[in-house]
């Protein structure tokens, strides 16, 4: 389609309600990107979180600190904190 033809098509598509107004696209994209922006931690804060996790988990399990990984996993609208924690051995419980 020529450029002019495309513009014409866009106009008609919009007039007859077949295409979203571009501001709605902008809003939706912003909504998604801000969910991620707002929840992101600084590398420093992520390190602190990792250290705290190591300390807590180490009370129960002996873990491989070298292989310990924490990061955010992002999908369209949701976000998860994913930790990969290699376990060396389970501590014997002293009840």
């Amino acid at each position: 389609m020529s450029r002019g033809g495309r513009a014409m098509f866009d106009l008609f598509a919009r007039v007859f309600g077949r295409e979203d107004a571009s501001k709605d696209v902008a809003k939706e994209r912003l909504r998604l990107v801000l969910v991620h922006d707002r929840a992101s931690l600084s590398p420093q804060a992520l390190d602190e979180l990792k250290n705290d996790l190591v300390n807590v988990i180490s009370k129960y399990l002996e873990i491989d600190q070298e292989g310990f990984q924490v990061d955010f996993s992002r999908h369209e609208e949701s976000m998860a904190l994913v930790a990969n924690i290699p376990v060396r051995s389970v501590k014997r419980r002293t009840l």
Partner: protein
């Protein structure tokens, strides 16, 4: 005791300096004693926007380093004798001043002025931290574009984490015809996304380019729509309850045609 207000945005080029110049001139026109600080060290521009670039002798860094007295560095405006500018240094960088020094300077200026407006540089690094250090209040300027809104959100987050700052939003360069046909976010969209208090809506206006060319703030031009928006912001800053007018549709043949097209969409 005066009030210190920082004008900031995160993203560059959205109109911080123009906003600072116009609100400053507006407050001075209304009779307040006003000082403007250009905190964009190394990239000074508030002086040219105000038309005062030929009067600079000393600058912000000279004052902070004790090389010049504040009263000698402050430049008196051409139009209002109660309006002053403290220009940025042009040959230094942001690290020439610390947030503590800025806080101290702003604090001392609040004794002499009703309003101290601080024009922040773009970004979130030391220049920004310097600019907000002494401020009691923050005005965040954003245009209705995804990049600007995203950066404004980041800035609002940083200001709110700092607690003492209460960010207010200025929506800049909004184009009523584009809003009408659904191709630009409107006031409600921006407020919904940013969840912040609104203090002004400034329409895109060619008069801004003309007034910047001449070094005369548009707030003094009674025919300018942007100038009117700045006058309203000035009144709100002074505590007056000024209702937000619905953004006006442009007149003329094009406006009418656009309205007709818009009408079909219902």
């Amino acid at each position: 005791m005066g009030e210190a207000i920082v004008i900031t945005s995160g993203k560059g080029g959205v109109g911080k300096t123009t906003t600072t110049a116009n609100i400053g001139a507006g407050l001075a026109q209304a009779g307040s004693r006003v000082a403007l600080i250009d905190a964009d060290i190394g990239l000074r521009n508030l002086d040219v926007v105000m038309g005062l670039e030929n009067r600079i002798v000393y600058d912000l860094v000279d004052v902070v380093e004790g090389f010049a007295k504040l009263k000698h560095a402050l430049i008196k405006d051409k139009r209002f004798e109660n309006l002053h500018l403290l220009p940025a240094a042009q040959t230094r960088d942001k690290t020439a001043v610390s947030p503590e020094q800025m806080k101290h300077l702003v604090e001392s200026m609040k004794d002499e002025f009703d309003y101290v407006l601080i024009d922040s540089p773009a970004g979130i690094e030391q220049g920004f931290r310097n600019a907000v250090a002494g401020a009691d209040k923050a005005l965040v300027v954003a245009t209705p574009e995804v990049s600007s809104v995203r950066d404004a959100d980041r800035i609002i987050g940083l200001l709110e984490a700092n607690e003492k700052h209460k960010p207010c939003l200025i929506i800049n360069r909004i184009r009523p015809s584009m809003v009408k046909r659904g191709d630009m976010m409107d006031i409600d969209d921006m407020i919904e996304i940013l969840a912040v208090q609104l203090i002004g809506v400034v329409p895109e206006d060619e008069a801004i380019v003309v007034s910047t060319n001449r070094g005369e703030p548009a707030v003094m031009n009674s025919n300018s729509r942007a100038g009117e928006a700045y006058r309203q912001i000035t009144r709100r800053l002074k505590g007056e309850d000024v209702p937000f007018a619905k953004i006006e549709e442009e007149s003329g043949l094009f406006g009418r045609i656009r309205r007709m097209i818009g009408g079909f969409k219902g």
